[in-house]
């Protein structure tokens, strides 16, 4: 499933992106290659720590747990590989026209829906049209808005998306709404079966039986039975076009509470437990009968600063705050090593990662003091804490959502770190999640401890441009906007990388937020499950097999 950006609290992150984790190290656990020859048959039970909603439709699912099913039951045009690049699936190949205005998709001719009907260009076009329909209640429109004419359809100025041309049954030519270098990441690529949904009103898609129980998919597994609050059972699609997969006959996704899942895994009631908390992971790691693995994810935590607030308007103050926080201490101490230092919005796994920023902002309280002094913040009354340039008291207020236990433990550390650098700080009363977001929307939070879950493509648009709705930092910088616009249209990857490098360096220099640490995703499984590669994509059960010897 194409991932979207997540606005998430630290605690919520544990629930989200369970299957969407990241990896490039293979130091502990199993890399899947040493497991010998795959064996067919058997059943694997996977733990889910949040219930399903039960909307198993590529364009209607909204909860992360539902996507675990959709990802197995449906097949996209292309899918990310271990190197964060796209690999052909339903599409054999795709190409831009030389002027970059058109994008042509060539689909495979040998793939069928689970009911035996062929998958064609019509299915893909039908899906895009449904998403652009004014009656559509889902959240995927941004992935279709990139096609010329989609906006007109949504705004009821047109009946069809004008930018789609069906060349033949397996070829589609799409006109871009504006030039994009990363169009294949921007475009919706998961078709739903036209022949099943043709007669269904778009607003009724969410509760249709073909979304809820009688799902006609295209992926390696078929939906056999769904009781969303308790379990979902998938069975092998014997006619899957990637020959030899999947290996197991049945996948059972069982909903369990976190506390029970640990015991159930040890007991053998479940075979695979993704999305572990650090505490459970450390506990299960001691169990020699289980395999555990941790992989870097596309999520990171940060302390946002309201750049429009006079308290954080001065770049030197923001830099000082970053220097003052002992981020390495947080990773090693608070996180017990389950995380890694970061200094940029682009994760290490990405091809666009800027290694030059690896050691930016080391913990340096003295440097923080110097910067504050340069900015005119001096300790006027001799209490060891600085006052603002007008001589009035200065205090950083740390805000965080109350459901995040990690933030609750981190906030006092931040306060302590800042005070050691001569900056007074205090923790605000934590706020309930939606209240927190509402206050943030109203610009009433001067700082906020939050996290981002990122897309595989490193495009910062949507969060970082001056006018982006999610630019809650109120970070306004013309150079920033220019670089983001330029990299969005630059199709030469090296040149785009260069632009993104400049952009990450600009952000590092401006320090509009404090990058705290990158997160990891942890999983544990019974060694009877073989062939597991646990990386940023999470587990891929179509590649697994079981060995009960």
């Amino acid at each position: 499933m194409k991932r979207k950006w997540f606005v998430i609290g630290l605690a919520l992150m544990m629930v989200l992106s369970v299957f969407l984790a990241a990896c490039n190290e293979k130091k502990d656990g199993n890399n899947g290659a040493s497991d010998g020859k795959p064996v067919d048959g058997g059943k694997i039970t996977i733990a889910e720590t949040a219930a399903f909603v039960g909307k198993f439709n590529p364009i209607m699912w909204e909860d992360e747990t539902d996507s675990h099913i959709v990802n197995r039951v449906f097949e996209p045009l292309w899918k990310e590989n271990e190197k964060t690049e796209l690999e052909p699936r339903l599409a054999e190949k795709w190409e831009y026209s030389p002027d970059g205005k058109f994008f042509t998709i060539h689909m495979r001719k040998d793939v069928k829906w689970h009911d035996g009907k062929p998958i064609t260009a019509d299915d893909m076009i039908f899906t895009w049209e449904a998403i652009a329909d004014p009656e559509y209640t889902g959240v995927r429109f941004d992935y279709v808005e990139v096609i010329k004419g989609a906006k007109e359809k949504k705004e009821k100025k047109a009946n069809k998306i004008s930018g789609i041309a069906k060349v033949d049954d397996y070829t589609i030519k799409v006109e871009l709404a504006r030039p994009y270098a990363n169009f294949e990441f921007k475009l919706w690529s998961w078709p739903m079966p036209k022949h099943v949904f043709e007669k269904v009103k778009v607003k009724d898609l969410a509760n249709h039986e073909a979304t809820r129980t009688k799902v006609v998919g295209s992926g390696p597994f078929k939906l056999k039975e769904a009781k969303p609050n308790e379990y979902v059972i998938l069975e092998k699609n014997k006619d899957y076009y990637r020959k030899g997969k999947p290996h197991v006959d049945q996948l059972v996704f069982k909903v369990l509470s976190q506390d029970v899942a640990v015991g159930a895994l040890k007991k053998g009631e479940i075979d695979f437990y993704p999305g572990l908390s650090a505490k459970d992971f450390d506990n299960l790691k001691k169990d020699k009968k289980l395999v555990t693995k941790e992989a870097p994810a596309f999520t990171y935590s940060y302390l946002g600063l309201d750049n429009a607030n006079p308290k954080y308007k001065d770049k030197r103050v923001r830099q000082a705050i970053t220097y003052a926080i002992n981020r390495k201490g947080i990773v090693d101490g608070l996180m017990k090593g389950h995380g890694y230092l970061i200094n940029q919005h682009i994760p290490k796994l990405s091809w666009a990662y800027n290694p030059d920023l690896e050691n930016a902002y080391p913990y340096d309280p003295n440097k923080a003091k110097q910067l504050m002094a340069q900015a005119g913040y001096k300790d006027a009354n001799g209490d060891g804490l600085v006052e603002d340039p007008q001589g009035k008291p200065y205090k950083v207020i740390i805000n965080y959502p109350s459901d995040s236990t990690t933030s609750a433990r981190m906030a006092p550390i931040l306060v302590d770190n800042l005070k050691k650098a001569g900056i007074n700080a205090e923790i605000a009363q934590p706020k309930e999640w939606k209240t927190f977001l509402e206050l943030q929307d109203q610009g009433k939070l001067e700082t906020f401890l939050m996290a981002w879950g990122l897309d595989v493509d490193p495009d910062p648009a949507g969060i970082w441009r001056s006018n982006d709705e999610f630019n809650k930092l109120n970070f306004k910088n013309p150079e920033n906007d220019k670089l983001i616009e330029q990299q969005q249209v630059e199709r030469d990857r090296n040149k785009r990388k260069e632009l993104l490098k400049k952009w990450t360096e600009l952000i590092s220099e401006e320090a509009p937020q404090v990058f705290l640490y990158g997160r990891t995703e942890m999983a544990a499984w019974n060694p009877r499950v073989k062939g597991v590669v646990w990386d940023y994509r999470g587990g891929l059960p179509e590649d697994w097999w079981v060995s009960d010897k």
Partner: protein, 320 residues
């Protein structure tokens, strides 16, 4: 009696109306709505507004209330903002689960609490009575969450007597009597965990109630008439001592529907409790309102049933 019940039922209408106004105002007063930062950063902000429009959140609260009321009176609970699924569908499954769990819990509670309470009262201040008292207090102070986990580790993981979660065996496809057995097998552990808590308080209550009744003059008279102990206990002591249980029963009946969030979570028992919690977190007003109204109605009905049972049990109480 029929007239009385009818009068009571009619009297519920204005009460429910006031409750619904209060609930709706409270729900509206909470900051944020279902669509606060719900969409992802690529989406133009105006589409969030469009969503609010689609689900009627752009109207004034008073208008929203009357739209809700009109639909509610027609048995139409609306569409969940979060899931975009009909509220009635989200609720129907869970109501069944909640009631099933609660009824079994009540049965276990009464089966345990009444004999233990009477036993204790008949041998006050003995070693056994003190032991029961001690365990009652432990039971009372045991956090549900901890008790539930303990039960799972002992009875499902170690002894393997009961399944640790769910309401039925995944993929077994049982029907009829076999399905009922399977469900009972799954409900016993969560129900017993919940029952242990109430058994503790019920036992204390019954014990003191029986002790009190035994001191009454009519009991002494009964003994003086030469009635055997068993008859005195059954006809004179228990009949009076257990009367207050009817009040308890009425109250329990109401809270049945509220569910038990922690127990439901630990045992993955999809009931109303968890739904209420989640819908509140997500500001899913249609689901919240429907759940709260169900609880309000069941509490009112529970009280009515208790009053009716009272008049049956106690000839002094009459409603005419």
């Amino acid at each position: 009696m029929g007239k009385y019940i009818l009068r009571r039922l009619l009297g519920m209408i204005p009460v429910l109306f006031i409750i619904s106004v209060l609930l709706f105002s409270l729900v509206q007063a909470v900051p944020g709505d279902a669509f606060t930062q719900q969409l992802n950063p690529h989406v133009d902000h105006k589409y969030i507004e469009e969503m609010r429009e689609k689900f009627g959140l752009d109207k004034s609260p008073i208008e929203q209330y009357f739209i809700w009321l009109k639909n509610f009176m027609q048995g139409e609970f609306g569409i969940s903002f979060k899931n975009k699924l009909p509220v009635s569908e989200l609720i129907s499954d869970r109501v069944g689960n909640t009631v099933f769990l609660a009824v079994i819990t009540l049965i276990i509670t009464y089966l345990l609490a009444i004999p233990i309470g009477i036993y204790s009262a008949n041998r006050p201040y003995t070693l056994m009575d003190n032991t029961i008292t001690t365990f009652s207090f432990i039971g009372l102070s045991l956090p549900t969450f901890f008790g539930a986990l303990l039960a799972i580790y002992i009875f499902s993981f170690n002894l393997e007597w009961f399944p640790s979660s769910g309401t039925m065996t995944a993929g077994a496809g049982y029907t009829g009597f076999r399905l009922l057995l399977d469900k009972l097998h799954h409900v016993i552990l969560p129900a017993t965990t919940l029952a242990v808590l109430s058994v503790a308080s019920y036992t204390r209550y019954i014990r003191s109630s029986v002790l009190e009744a035994k001191r009454q003059d009519y009991v002494r008279t009964a003994y003086a008439k030469g009635l055997p102990r068993k008859v005195v206990m059954r006809k004179h002591v228990l009949r009076n001592a257990l009367m207050p249980l009817i009040t308890f029963f009425g109250l329990d009946l109401g809270s049945l529907f509220a569910g038990a969030v922690l127990t439901e979570t630990v045992f993955t028992w999809p009931g109303l409790g968890r739904l209420i919690f989640e819908s509140t977190v997500n500001r899913d007003y249609p689901v919240m309102m429907a759940c709260y109204m169900i609880i309000a109605i069941s509490i009112l009905l529970g009280n009515l049933i208790a009053d009716i049972l009272y008049s049956k049990a106690d000839p002094r109480v009459r409603y005419d």
